[in-house]
Every structure is written in C-alpha cells, then in structure tokens.
C-alpha cells in the first residue's frame, strides 16, 4: 500500500501534463486532494498497530519494482509532515502565486518533490534513498527560482552548488559501504557493519554521510545556502523548504543512517553534539540580529534543527523520541511562522520589520497564530514545542552531556528573545499611517494559519495523555 505514496504522485504529474483540454485546470485540485489523502492515510496507519522496522511492511508493488520499502513510526511522522506541509504550501500558494501558468508549474514541481520526499522516507535501501533525494532536491532548486527573480536565482544556484558537493560526499560514502558489505539494502549493510570491526572505510563513510546530510539539512557549519534560499524563495516555497524539504533531505536521512545503519556508534555522538550545539547557539544568535522577517525565521530554523541533532546525539531513549517529536513540532510552528510572514508580506508589501508596526489590530488572526508559533518554538508550555525540547533536554542530561543541556536550555532564552522581537516590531506598537489600510489576509493563508496553530496547541495539550508505548516505539528505532 505504501508504495502508492510514491507512484500516485508520479502518475498525477504525468496525468496533468497530458495534452487534454481541461486537465491542466484541475492540477491544483488534484494536488490538494493528494496532500489531503496522504494526511488521512498516515493518520489511519498511525492508529493501527505496527510491527517494528526490521519486519517492515513489504508490499506487492514494491516487490514488483524490486525496491525495498518499509514503514515504522518515524516514517509515519515524516509522511504526515510531508502531507501537512504540502497542504499548507498549496493553500498559501493559492493566494500568493496568482498567475495561472506559474501556478501550474508550481503545482507540478511540488508534486514531483512530494514523490521524492515520500520515496526518501520509505526507502529501505541506501541507493534508492539517494535517488529519491536527488529528485526532491532538483525539484526544490527550481521551486526556489521559478519566479525568476535575480536574488532567488542566486539563492537557488548557491543551493545547487552546495548540494552537488553533498551528492559527491554521499555517493562516495555509499560506494564505501557497498565495498564493505557488498549490498545496498539497510538490513544487509547494518548486519555487515555490526559483524565487522568497523575499520577506517566505515568511519570514513560515516563521516562523509554526516557532512553530506549536514549540507542538505543546513546544519552549521554547512549552512551557507540556507538563509538565502529561505529568504529569497517565494513565500509558499519557503514554507515547503523550511517545513519539510531540509528536514527530510538532511535530518531524516541522518537519523536513519546514524541509528539504523551504524547502530549509533559512540564516536558519532560527539560530532553530532558539537554540530548541534553550534547550530542551536549561532542560529539563534544570528536570528537575533536580523531585520528581514523571513531571514530571521531562516536562522531560527538552523537553530531549531540543532535541537533535533542534539536529540539524535543522545541515542535511543528520550532524546531520540524528543528529536522525532521536534521534527513534527518544527514542521508545524515554522511553517506557521512562514505562513504568517507570507500574510504580512502580501498585505503590506514588505518583510522589513523596521517598517512595520502595530499590525495586531489589523491582522488579529495572524497576530494570534504567530504568538502561538513563537511560544511553541521557544518551548513555552503548554504548547507542543515544550514537550519535544523537554524530552531532548532530559535525554541530554541522562546521557551525561550536562553542559550541552545547560547551553541548549539557555539558548531557548535567545529564541524567545528574537521571537518576542517579531511580536514587538511587527504586531505591537503604533500603526504607521501608510499601514492604515492593511487588512487581514484571507482564504488559504488564514485556513493554514488556523490549522497549524490548532495542531501546535492540540499536540501540546494531548501530549501528557499519549500512551507510553508510543513514546517507547519512537525512542527505540534501532532496527536490523
């Protein structure tokens, strides 16, 4: 069944490009239904009992095409995030991308990217994963620059060049692994790595992987492309990139490879800790100094992704569960903040926060939902972000990385600081005369903002009631 998540999008891309009269017009609707279907499908799957990854669901189509796919709770979380972000991107895109021709291209690219992202999370084979990764990446280069703004083209080019480097690193690592184990499937590689002593080629492969994924995920010190790409991309594309693309391309892959393939080798924790804490602190620090709404959010993404890396560094246990939960939460609150920035940008025509003020009365929904997102991002209870950060901090403390835990906690004060500065500069204060006619954003932007805010509140409130078994299944991903 799950392989349909890859094939149906591909089929739809072919369908909407057929030279029949009416089909182009329904492209948007089809993509929308696709996103909705994915959300419903993963929710249904989530609430049916699931065996662990090692005996992952193999299905008929997968056998037929001879690539292995498998599903566990991590996959389901990611699939849900992909569906959700796609939905929100489409809703926002409806308001922002008004030209019919551009919108058609936009929808096409999104659906291709979706197939790629679904493929990455479902793949049980390192080379398959790499292929889908490239599909998603190529689609996102074009998405950044499809409106052909000069700055957007520059940002996309930067991303392309750095990603090319990442591809080289990842391919070399895959080659090394095939050398050691003789196969590309996760199960066989992880078995081979466990049997062997893990000599130099293995360590080298792991290092190459970490660097490659870190570029894709925008983790410091490999983050150079990210602020430009997030800032210059069209508003809905920023949501898509920040919400899910970097997360799947960089973080999901990292989690899979580190925990499943390499069995959370001890030496990797140190590297991850350093990269994680650097991202957390410098991302937050850089965000503090920004005037551009979206650029601040971009640096904030780097910082939040750092928390996920820290959770991963703790290894199986609450840290890892927190990391996975933070992927979901970050998707929700960062997409929400980008939706808010899209609302402000479309209505006022600027992203420079120094030129804005007092919008809370003019845009009450945007203002309220941005508070929810900000507080969730800063880890203020009872919102969802609090719980994932709490799990990560407890995980760090229990793993003995106490200093890192302290720094990570203190960094959340900087997070709150810059997010409050958005509130102060954009939504509070006196309304300037040139902003008197600003109205609340409408339609798709509103629906997405309210939907995401409801999820951020709902997950936060529901968290204490989730069964311990579910947390445990997230915290013990070690397959094979």
């Amino acid at each position: 069944m799950f392989s349909l998540l890859i094939f149906v999008p591909l089929f739809i891309v072919m369908l909407i490009n057929m030279p029949f009269g009416g089909i182009r017009k329904s492209a948007y609707i089809l993509a929308f239904l696709l996103a909705l279907a994915q959300i419903v499908f993963t929710l249904l799957a989530f609430f049916t009992p699931l065996s662990p990854l090692s005996s992952g669901r193999q299905d008929i189509l997968g056998n037929f095409f001879n690539f292995r796919i498998g599903v566990d709770n991590l996959t389901l979380v990611l699939l849900f995030c992909i569906g959700l972000t796609l939905l929100v991107t489409l809703l926002t895109g409806r308001e922002v991308v008004v030209d019919q021709r551009q919108r058609f291209n936009f929808v096409n690219l999104l659906v291709i990217a979706m197939a790629g992202l679904n493929g990455i999370v479902l793949a049980q084979d390192i080379f398959t994963m790499y292929v889908f990764l490239e599909i998603a990446a190529v689609a996102s280069y074009i998405l950044i620059s499809f409106q052909k703004g000069i700055l957007a083209l520059e940002a996309a080019f930067k991303y392309l060049i750095l990603s090319a480097a990442a591809s080289v690193l990842m391919l070399s690592a895959i080659a090394l692994l095939v050398l050691v184990s003789g196969d590309t499937s996760f199960a066989i590689i992880s078995q081979a790595l466990r049997d062997g002593s893990g000599g130099f080629p293995v360590k080298l492969a792991l290092g190459l992987f970490v660097c490659g994924f870190a570029i894709k995920g925008g983790i410091i010190p490999f983050h150079g492309w990210l602020p430009d790409a997030y800032t210059e991309a069209p508003a809905p594309v920023s949501i898509f990139l920040a919400g899910i693309v970097t997360k799947t391309l960089g973080l999901y892959t990292l989690i899979r490879v580190v925990t499943v393939l390499f069995g959370q080798a001890a030496y990797i924790s140190q590297i991850l800790l350093v990269m994680g804490i650097l991202s957390v602190v410098f991302g937050a620090w850089m965000a503090l100094t920004q005037n551009d709404f979206k650029r601040m959010l971009a640096y904030s993404s780097i910082s939040q992704v750092g928390y996920i890396i820290l959770g991963l560094a703790c290894g199986p246990g609450w840290g890892l569960a927190g990391a996975i939960l933070h992927i979901l939460n970050h998707t929700v609150f960062k997409s929400l903040l980008f939706v808010n920035s899209a609302a402000v940008e479309t209505k006022t025509g600027t992203r420079n926060m120094d030129q804005l003020a007092g919008l809370s009365d003019r845009m009450p929904v945007t203002s309220f939902t941005s508070i929810i997102a900000s507080l969730s991002a800063a880890g203020v209870p009872p919102l969802a972000g609090f719980w994932s950060k709490l799990l990560i901090i407890i995980g760090l403390w229990q793993a003995g990385f106490k200093l890192v835990a302290v720094i990570a906690v203190l960094a959340s004060i900087i997070t709150l600081g810059y997010l409050l500065s958005i509130q102060r500069r954009v939504f509070w204060g006196k309304l300037g005369s040139e902003l008197l006619n600003v109205k609340e954003a409408k339609g798709g932007i509103m629906i997405s903002a309210v939907l995401l805010a409801a999820i951020a509140i709902g997950v936060g409130l529901a968290f204490p009631f989730i069964p311990a078994a579910m947390l445990n299944s997230l915290s013990s991903l070690l397959g094979g």
Partner: protein, 480 residues
Amino acid sequence: MRTEATLLGIVFIPLLGSFLLPLIGRLSARFRNYCALGLVLVTFLLSASLIGKVLSGQAITVSQQLVFGFSTVFTADGLAVFMASVASFISLLIVIYSFGYIDHYDHQSEYYFMVVFFLGAMMGLVMASNLIFLYIFWELTAIASWRLIGFFREKNQVMRADKAFLVTFFGAVVMLLGFIVVYQQTGSFDYATIKASLNGGTLSNLAVGLILFGILSKSATLPFHTWLPDAGVAPSPVTALLHAAILVKIGVYVFARLFVATFPIEQIWHTVVPIIAGVSAIVAAGAALVETDIKRIIAYSTISQIGFIFFGLATGNMVGVAGGLLYILAHGLSKAGLFLCAGIVEQNTHVKDINRLGGLMKTMPFTAIAFLACSFSVMGIPPFSGFFAKYMVFAGGINNGQIGTTIFFMAGAFMTILYLLRVFYKVFMGETGESQAPEGSASMVYTVVIFAVLSLLSGILISYPAQFVQAALLNLPGVK
C-alpha cells in the same frame, strides 16, 4: 468525587472560561465584564468551599496515569487552599476596580481574558502536584503577565513586558534544569513519589540551588528584581495583580510548597535564603527611599516585603512559617490597596512623580485614608494584619537563633515606615501640587476602601487566618 470536581473546577473554570470572554465581548462589553467577575467569583467560592474539608486534615487529590509516570495531577491541601482563596479573593476586588479603570482604553476584551486566564493559571500552579505541571502553569502565568504588562502597546511598555517575560523565562528554564536534576536523583516528577524515594534524605543542593534561582526570578528578589519596578508601566490594576495576588507570590508559594511542605532540604539553605532575602529587603527599601515615581516606590516596597516572607518561610519553625504565610495574606490585601490608590492618583492627575504632587487629601479624601491604612499594614503598625505577620516572622527568626538576621530585617521594617510615610506626605499632604483632581469613579474608590478595611479587619480578627494557617502547617517536613 464531588470535591475532586470542585478542585478541577477551581483550575479549569477560570482557565477555559477566560477564552469565552473575547467572544462575549463582541456581543456586549458590559456582559463580558460581569462574566469575568462571575468567573473569578466562582473560583473564589469554590476555593473557599474547600476550607472546611482541608481544615479537618484531608487532602483532595485528582489522579490520572499520564506520560512520564505522572500519577497525581492536582492536590488541594491546607497550604494550597489558603493560597488559592487569598489570590482569588484579591483578584475579585481587582476585577471590580478594573470596571472603572480600564473602561476607556482599547483592547478591553484581551484585558479581561488575560486577567481571568492569569488567575486560572495561578490556581493550576497552586494545586499542581508534580513538577512538570507546576512548570506548565508557571509559564502560563508568564505569558499572561507579558500580555498584561504590555497592555498599552507603546514601544516602551512592550520592551518592559518583554524584559519581564525574558527574565522570568530565564529563571524558569534554570528551574526546569533543577527539576531534571530531581528527576535524575529520584526517577520521578511527582511530589509524593519523590518524597517517598528521598526516604528522609534531602534533595541535592544542585537541584535546590537551580530551583531557587527560578523562584527568586519570579518573585523579583535580588538580583533578579529589576523587571518588577519596570513592570509598573502596566495599567494599575495589573500591577496590583502582579504584586499582590499572583505573580510575585508564585515564587513564594512554590518555595513554601517545595521546600517547606514537601521536600527536606539541607540545613545550610535555612541560613542562605534569609541572607539573600535580607539583602534584597534592605537594598529594595533603600531604592524605595530615593525613587520619585509613586508606582516604582511601591514596586520596590514589594521586593522588600517579599524578603520578609522568604525569611519567615525559611526559618523552618511553626511561628516563622505561619508568619510568612500570614504575611502573604496581609501584604496581598494592603499592597493591592496601595497600587489601586496609586492608580486613582495616576489616572486622575496624569502625574506619577511624587515631587510634583501634593495636597490631594482635600480632593480625594477616601483614597488618601485608604492609602494611609494600607501603608500602616505594610509598615507593621498594630492592629493591622501586617503587624501580626511581621511580628511572627521576627519571632520565628529569634526562635531559630538568627538574631543578627532578624535585626537586619528590623532595620528593613524601619525603612518601610520611612518611605511609605514619605510617599503619603508628598502626595496627599502639604502644598497643593501642580495637578489637582477629583476622586476616582465609584467602583475604584469602593475597592480601595474595602482593601483598607480588610487590612484592618484581618488584623483585628487575625486569630481566624492564623488558626487556618497553623492547621495547614501541621505535620509538614519543613516545619518543626
């Protein structure tokens, strides 16, 4: 079962009911105000209805199995019911006062929403019986106070609201680390389970120190006090709420709850805490002596008086702790009265500088008398309740053999008399200042007179609250 429902009602009626207020406000402003009053009244009546139950030595517990192995969620014992009754009663009067004060400003719906929400969060914090729930409600109060301090939305106000939020958030996350240390030490967040696993031993000093850090930041004790005078930019009923009923009392209450009523701590803290409190009391009193802004003087007075409460609670003997708790009541009543009087003066004269005021006795006699009566209670003049409470604190200190510290605090009490009389003379007596103004509106004047009368009555009838407090303190580990 019915008492459990009452307990849940105390927390969730105001907390959830507050969300209806903005909606009701769209229909009718008047009806919304009465609904806000009604919610607070119900909260108070429910809290008061538990007094009989807890006096007979029973504690009411709401249990629910939740994630992290939480088993008890809320507990109402003597201490909790005392605090809940005091806080909700003072809030009740402050809401009545708000009818007159706030009715010509924008964003009234948000005001009532946040005030009632604030109270609900306070109730949750008071009743919480595990550390994570304590933390959640702690942060909810921070969110509410952030919105309320920034109520006027000018740049200056918002900056200070952000400051208050950031300082208390800083304290809170440090406290959260303390909770994680406790978790590491005992394997639980539940008060009862922690107590059982400590098994007569003491909490680790690291945990106590970190938690104390959070407590001191919330109750604005040196060296984290600067946000409180700055928060005086809020509307006067809000400052009254922050100082008298809710915010700064949270720190004191949590100290009483964790370190007096629940966990044994090492002896050294019974010396360290009074010294910090003493320095805070003296320094803040000195600042109050030189300030010229009426609200800042009263704010410094709060910082100073909170020191007395900490001193009482930290003595660890019956008289001292009972005195500390009674002073929460006495200080709450009289400090609320002082701020509300200051609010009348400020709103009618538009001047906050005491050097530019004078002779207001002639035009606002009721306010002047109420101010004087409340000042007497804070100074500790018999038969006002402040006298009895301070006396008991000093007696507790002497009983504990801390004669030097007690003398130090007596000097602080003397300075209290000086700065409060200074304010009274400059504002209400002497030559007529540059601004002369009539009395405030009826609901405002009634409220301050009621506070003055209550300060006196609670002194004359001190035996009733004293009996209650002593019953609440029986058999607590921190009280000998």
